[in-house]
């Protein structure tokens, strides 16, 4: 059996420089989710349809994607237009409300896409562990431009 880590892309490979934006102004959660989703399209991880599917998913399933205080993890299903394993991050200039009972308002919107239901798992677990550890979250929030934000994220590997 092939080890998971060998056949699935790691976070460094899946989180390109162009997929990180700091200080975006978004009027509401839809704009914020679309911004994060568009970065997946720009980096070749997803189609435009995938971005629409993320918005629909939040409308249908509710704001459960806001999985920690201030943090949303936006995604749709692989068959909605996931073409490669890819992650993106939008750090908002002003937080937006998703309607989450416990975790509003949101200032960090992560998005991911995957061509199937398995290949993103290794990188996603690495991302979650990184966000949870030490002062990493504070450093993500303190980053003042795209480059700084990218450098912090790259340390997750």
């Amino acid at each position: 059996m092939v080890d998971d880590a060998e056949r699935t892309p790691d976070l460094a490979a899946s989180f390109p420089r162009e997929a990180v934006r700091s200080g975006l102004h978004c009027a509401d959660w839809r704009e914020a989710v679309r911004a994060a989703g568009s970065l997946l399209v720009a980096t070749g991880a997803a189609t435009e349809d995938y971005v629409d599917a993320i918005v629909r998913a939040v409308e249908e399933l509710g704001p459960y994607i806001v999985l920690a205080p201030g943090i949303a993890l936006a995604h749709a299903r692989p068959e909605d237009g996931g073409t490669a394993v890819g992650f993106s991050l939008v750090k908002l200039a002003e937080p937006v409300e998703f309607g989450s009972e416990h975790n509003d308002p949101v200032d960090l919107v992560f998005a991911f896409a995957s061509p199937d239901s398995e290949q993103h798992i290794t990188a996603l677990a690495a991302l979650a562990d990184f966000i949870e550890s030490g002062d990493n979250l504070a450093r993500i929030r303190a980053a003042s431009n795209d480059e700084e934000l990218y450098r912090v994220i790259q340390e997750a590997n």
Partner: protein
Amino acid sequence: MIRVFAVCGMGLGTSAILKTRLKAALDASGVDYMLDVTDASAARGQQADLIFTSAELAEGLKGSPAKIVIIKNFMDREEINEKVKEAIEELQ
């Protein structure tokens, strides 16, 4: 053997993060368990003892014979460890 599910909207994102955290907490508890990830609609048809999910999705799982445990912060291992411990004590 207790049957545990991590449930999110699609079974791809939040529940995948939750699964690694639940696994650590369940291993530490010493109970014999089976852990799986599923989406909210599939979860309704599953035979489960414990379902861990978000406040938003818990609404849709009402009526399930399983004990539903709401996680507020999916990144927070301490919250998850504590809730796993409580839930297992209640089951036993």
